[in-house]
């Protein structure tokens, strides 16, 4: 196989012979040119103390000092890191749980199902900025709709300063994020649910396993691959949340919503401490990179083994159900 095509290929013109690499060149150049140069430059910056004299930027090599400072002298890094961690865990968990629950509801047959499913696209397609502005307006302490509604329903007596206390503000940002991101889980979960053959459930119900049991035994294992991918990607993206807090809270009050991305931006562009900001961004990157490796592994597995696995799974389940 190897020698024959080679001879043939030599006769082909250069363009045809190297068509593959030629076709990928523009895309590769753009992707790696735009993304890879900066990521290495950021590493360089993180290892330097950077100051300014007129038009000049002075780099003074500082080793790991910027990284050490994050944990010793930086007043807000630790709290910002913890807040981010909390935010990521809470939003991702909530989105997946609510998303799966809602997808189960929307997977039932009812009038107007197509319409309701279509509706799920609305929050997903909306610009994040508009989402943030919308919720900031709803949670406005003086004239917001949240207060208006709760007052009208008699659930509260005086207006709440939603974004004014640390816990409330965190909750509001959390809510805004969940509203926007959950539909994505719902859409993917519905797609995954539709691949589960009906007869599996029928077999299970003969077996006496309805409702919860069927969910744990059939539904969850069948949509697990999708959920796993969602879990990883959602986690990575939640770590990068910026727009929401930039618009809704500016990281406050009391740093309760000072997510890392926002804090890094603040240190870089407001305090012009490029070295520290680059160091922080590298800490964040490392977390995302680690998650990405897991993601790529899982994604590849899913791509290659998904069908095999599902078939195997199906066979086993069906056989099990019939035996019973």
């Amino acid at each position: 196989m190897k020698t024959k095509p080679l001879k043939k290929r030599e006769k082909e013109p250069f363009f045809e012979r190297h068509l593959g690499p030629i076709l990928i060149t523009p895309s590769t150049l753009v992707i790696f040119g735009i993304l890879f140069i900066p990521i290495f430059y950021a590493l360089y910056m993180s290892l330097n103390r950077i100051s300014f004299r007129g038009a000049d930027t002075i780099y003074k090599f500082a080793g790991l000092q910027n990284f050490i400072n994050l944990f010793t002298t930086d007043p807000w890094f630790k709290s910002s890191f913890l807040v981010t961690l909390l935010f990521v865990m809470l939003t991702v968990a909530t989105e997946i749980v609510i998303g799966v629950a809602a997808s189960l509801v929307l997977n039932k047959k009812f009038h107007g199902r197509g319409f309701v499913r279509g509706l799920m696209i609305l929050p997903w397609a909306m610009p994040t900025v508009v989402n943030a502005v919308m919720w900031k307006w709803i949670f406005n302490a003086e004239y917001g709709a949240a207060n208006g509604l709760l007052l009208k329903l008699g659930l509260i007596k005086t207006s709440i300063a939603w974004l004014g206390t640390p816990r409330m503000a965190f909750f509001c940002v959390f809510l805004a994020n969940v509203w926007k991101e959950t539909p994505y889980v719902i859409l993917l979960a519905i797609a995954a649910l539709s691949t589960i053959p009906e007869d599996l459930y029928e077999a299970a119900s003969i077996d006496g396993a309805g409702g919860w049991k069927a969910f744990w035994r059939i539904t969850l294992p069948m949509i697990k691959p999708v959920l796993l991918i969602l879990l990883i990607t959602k986690t990575i993206w939640a770590f990068q949340t910026f727009d929401l807090v930039a618009i809704m809270t500016s990281g406050g009050p009391q740093n309760a919503t000072n997510l890392l991305s926002y804090y890094i931006h603040f240190v870089a562009f407001k305090q012009t401490d490029f070295g520290s900001a680059a160091a922080m961004s590298y800490v964040l990157s490392m977390i995302c990179f680690a998650l990405s490796f897991v993601y790529i592994k899982v994604f590849m597995n899913k791509d290659e083994n998904d069908e095999k696995k599902i078939k195997k799974h199906l066979k086993k389940k069906l056989a099990g159900a019939h035996e019973g």
Binding site: F110, V130, W137, L187, I247, S292
Partner: protein
């Protein structure tokens, strides 16, 4: 048994209604706000239909930099969509059909790039683009957005091309078509669904992008709609009415397109994870 069924249906419809209300209500309030007067919005009442339905906010908006920002959004988005589809589909084809050294590592790396936090890129990017005098240019945004959209597009299109049978293509080549020709006339029509999905995704991702635009555009020469909306929201201009109005307008294109072409979106979503 029947009672139980009725009960189940009732619970189901209740849950569906709940989902609808939760999804629609916040956005509806944004739309209502955009048609209301500022004084009425500050009356601490909530209402479905404002007493004085007004288009004044929209008129105001038109005089407040909305049109140039919208033009920037349109130009950047359409450039990204067109360029990304052309070079992305060709690359996807190459990744699917050809064997060459470094193929798999490249593919994995491109997937990996989607996971790099933008905040880690923006600081060096800002300095590099500054030296190249590329701050505040639409072309800069186009290049960055291409790098965001392409990896995803290549993955999806590759998965579509992977499942199209090679035999048809080979038949065309035997008939004397060149490789590229057979791709255009045989493969491309077969993957049009995937193509539609990726075009829509590229559009939505690009149109909605805020972070890079916020950091790299300074004036209306390049500022896109999300940045304009942010501006309405900052110091000396926490202008909720304007934000709401601009928000409604800016969200219309992606929302409408997504609703109209939801079929493609769902197939596209199933093919791979899309960053929103």
């Amino acid at each position: 048994m029947k009672v139980k069924k009725v009960l189940n249906r009732t619970i189901l419809y209740f849950l569906v209604a709940l989902i609808i209300v939760i999804t629609l209500a916040p956005y509806l309030w944004l739309v209502i706000s955009s048609f209301s007067t500022k004084i009425e919005l500050m009356s601490r009442q909530i209402f479905l239909i404002p007493h004085n339905i007004t288009l004044a906010n929209y008129k105001d908006l038109m005089s407040k930099d909305f049109i140039p920002a919208a033009m920037n959004s349109i130009i950047v988005t359409s450039s990204v969509v067109v360029i990304s589809v052309i070079i992305g589909v060709l690359a996807a084809y190459a990744f699917s059909r050809f064997r060459f050294r470094g193929k798999n590592p490249l593919l994995n790396l491109s997937l990996f790039t989607q996971m790099i936090p933008p905040i880690a890129l923006i600081i060096p990017m800002f300095i590099i683009f500054k030296r190249l005098d590329l701050i505040n240019h639409r072309i800069t945004l186009v290049m960055i957005y291409l790098s965001l959209v392409l990896p995803y597009l290549i993955w999806i299109m590759k998965s579509y091309i992977d499942v199209t049978p090679k035999t048809l293509e080979e038949a065309a080549m035997i008939d004397g078509c060149s490789r590229l020709k057979s791709f255009f006339f045989v493969v491309l029509p077969m993957i049009s669904t995937g193509l539609a999905a990726t075009v829509i995704f590229s559009f939505i991702i690009t149109w909605n992008e805020f972070f890079y635009a916020f950091s790299l555009t300074k004036t209306l020469d390049a500022k896109t709609l999300p940045v304009l909306i942010y501006d309405f929201n900052s110091k000396f201009g926490a202008n909720y009415v304007m934000s709401a109005t601009a928000g409604v307008l800016a969200s219309l294109p992606p929302v409408l397109i997504a609703l109209l072409f939801q079929k493609y979106i769902i197939t596209g979503l199933a093919a791979g994870a899309v960053k929103e």
